[in-house]
Amino acid sequence: MSDITKQSLTELVENIQNKKLSSTDVTKAFIQRSEKSSELNAYITDDFTSALDKAKKFDQNPNLDLKLPGIPMAVKDLFCTKNVKTTAGSKILNNFVPTYESTITENIWNEGAILLGKLNCDEFAMGSSNETSYFGNVQNPIDKNLVPGGSSGGSASAVAGQLTPITIGTDTGGSIRQPASFTGIVGLKPTYGSCSRYGIVAFASSLDQAGPMAQNVKDCALLQEVISTYDPKDSTSINFKRNHYSKELTKNIKGKKIGIPKEYRVDGMPKEIEDLWQKGIQYVKDCGAETIDISLPHTSYALPTYYIVAPAEASSNLARYDGVKYGYRAKGENLIDMYEKTRSEGFGAEVQRRIMIGTYVLSSGYYDAYYLKAQKVRKLIKNDFDEAYKKVDAILTPSTPSSAFKIGEKTNDPVSMYLNDIFTVPVNLAGLPGISIPAGHDTKGYPLGLQIIGKAFDEQNILNIAFAMEEKINFKNKITDWWIK
């Protein structure tokens, strides 16, 4: 039984389809391991009892043609799940039980998967270390007191720690790729418009995109195939021809042109990151692809642009949490007093900081200087990529400027925390797909990731490149189960 949780999604699906394992076997194994892993604090809410019932029901009449037959899966607590509490990592939604299901989770259950529970994350997905969650820090399975990254920290920790075979996160500025990199797993942020945002608690609407997080590229491709559907309920969902990502997955990337952007060689970047990147370039060449030096001249403006656009949208998106209709409500003398107390008590410090930044940059007199200018720069950043893609098929960069850091190390230094997203935010601003794959370890033995950025709607291409590199890299995550007593 202990072997079960070590299996990849692809293996589990095969074993269930070949009837070597039942859904109940698999579900039980992940529940047991999850129960032993409470120190990771990966879950906010578990749904184990109901998961076992669903697994048993599945086994009574198994539909083995489904893509995720009887596979148990925990998801980030940003996805609304019908009748299961959905908190977005916030006190303000601590009592919120949706009566509806997000399109993405709906797609997942429709393919036979079973909800294990809801995974911890930074409050409203605002954070890069999972430390802003109202429900506490998440431990990185790699080492004690190490952050798993964020905002999809619980998701990354749960996959790396084998509490769930696979999961979904959301990525507004790097929230899938950075924690994937910190925990030695694969994380894909799809093209904006590829996966429906319906039923996902919004952070920054023009940047938010959900995507898969997995132990390997093939699992990642399979889940992407399930979650990416056109959804008329999301006006920004795009109706394009979607590939059968897992079936069409190939290691043949001969002749592909991979761009290496010089602007990603930032000041003060540790040598081990530079070394990793060089190794990555070699792997790509070993696979028969060609690397080309390119320039993305506006890269250095991406982070400040992001920290105007995202808080601006967030300040408006989070206005609905006012204590009137649902969620936390503080007692107040009058309406305004109730608003102020509810939002001061219900939101954490980082969320309040971003609401204030966002409110400021949209205020009359500042709008042109900040928000409008940021929108213009955003266009320039997108143009950089469009220019580059005239010459190359994909772009290779490090995923993060460092490996995972200690819990508490950057809590009081928001700017240093924001710098974590330096390589990931340009991708969100341009609406492009990006995947992080584990590519090596730093001197402390912590995982490091490489990011492959693709053209819009070209998920298949970056999955293929990642698939080819994965074989060459042959990464092994060093999980010691230190948290299991």
Partner: protein
Amino acid sequence: MNQKNTEYLINRKDNQYEVVIGLEVHAQVLSESKLFSSSSTKFGAEPNTQVSLVDAAFPGMLPVINEFCIKQAIKTGIGLNAKINKRSVFDRKNYFYADLPQGYQISQFKNPIVGEGKVILDMPNGQKEVGIERLHLEQDAGKSIHDLDPQNTFVDLNRSGVALMEIVSKPDLRSPDEVNAYIKKLRSIMRYLGTCDGNMQEGSLRADVNVSVRPKGSKEFGTRCEIKNVNSIKFMQMAIEYEANRQVDLIEEGKTIDQETRLFDTKKNETRSMRSKEDAHDYRYFPDPDLLPLEVSEKFIEELKNDIPELPDDKKKRFIEEFKLSPYEANILVSDIDTAKYFEEVVAKMGKNKDIKLAVNWITGELFAVLNSKALEISQSPVSAKNFAILINLIKNGTISGKIAKTVFELMIDGDKDPQKIVEEKGLKQQSDPKALETLIDKIINENREKAIEYKQGKEKLFGFFVGQAMKASGGKANPQLINEILKKKL
């Protein structure tokens, strides 16, 4: 008519002031479902029964534009002779209120769906053109109910998310009468188009009124005050009158007018300050990232143009040309689409030998009187256009007299009866047989010999007496024209 005589001016000592008015009309789009959700828009439902997860702003819910509302707005734009913008943008207007679940209203700020246009008003002293600045689409808020409980406010979200068109006029209006004509014209156009029912009692049409005053002849505008959310024409007129006089008084006292938002208190008939310019909300408008810019093609607009019915101005022109009506009569008939429809149906049913003038007189006279007394709309008329046409034809072809027709009409009201049948059943047919009438008149002259002699001696007034006697003897059924002719001959 002398233009000067009809000018609306406020007089103080030696000074005369002109009033400048601009309106922001909020017209509810006639649509089954809301602007960004599929909830019903029906008026008067139980509180909070027409609310979707989108309307109540649940986490993760997203707006999806209702194409029908877009069509309605474009049609209205066409009806206002306005420029249709092929690209428009939905923005968020951010503010907190208990009946605004999202914490923002989705509206259009910089790029509205409809640009500049104009409407023509028929004023007693001639036509007046009023410029339209823009028309944009936006969501309505819910309703806060403060008077159901001493401690709590209740919120009804049925209206939350209902589509509104905000129609902004240029500051072209100069009097309460022009405001009256303008609102009525807008309502008329939208009712013709079927884009707004114009029902002010149900709040389907309400306006923010911008008022300023300036010395007569001045080219510069004065400082304006905005009177929020006035929901009847009468109140608009009262509010303007009060507000204009208030502003003039301030100027006369040497004080300045503060630009501010005011409320009209309908009980006290006065406007009161709501918030000053300094306290004005900073709405932090920005494009709604949940919605892509709205783009409509030339073809889409053209198809809607083909769908536009004959509008009041064109209909009026046609009525004058085709039916030889006076502009005044045509105006009355076209101002309400249902009146125009009724009239046109009557005309059609009257057939070849028709008397349109007579029909118009009867519609604006007898029919309107009945509708008024019973407080009915013409669409609810107790007499159908078909039977109304028959009645007019009975008068026209001499079957009944106008006087008898009034009796017949009274009887028709109860159950939309066929006037032909009433005339037959009650024996009300006009007596037009000259021999029978001659006998009748001979008898009357014989009975009133003295009066007949007086008449012949020159007391011509007595002619009426004989007509009356003859009509009376015939039970009112005698053909009055024949009576006249025969009497003249016999006397």
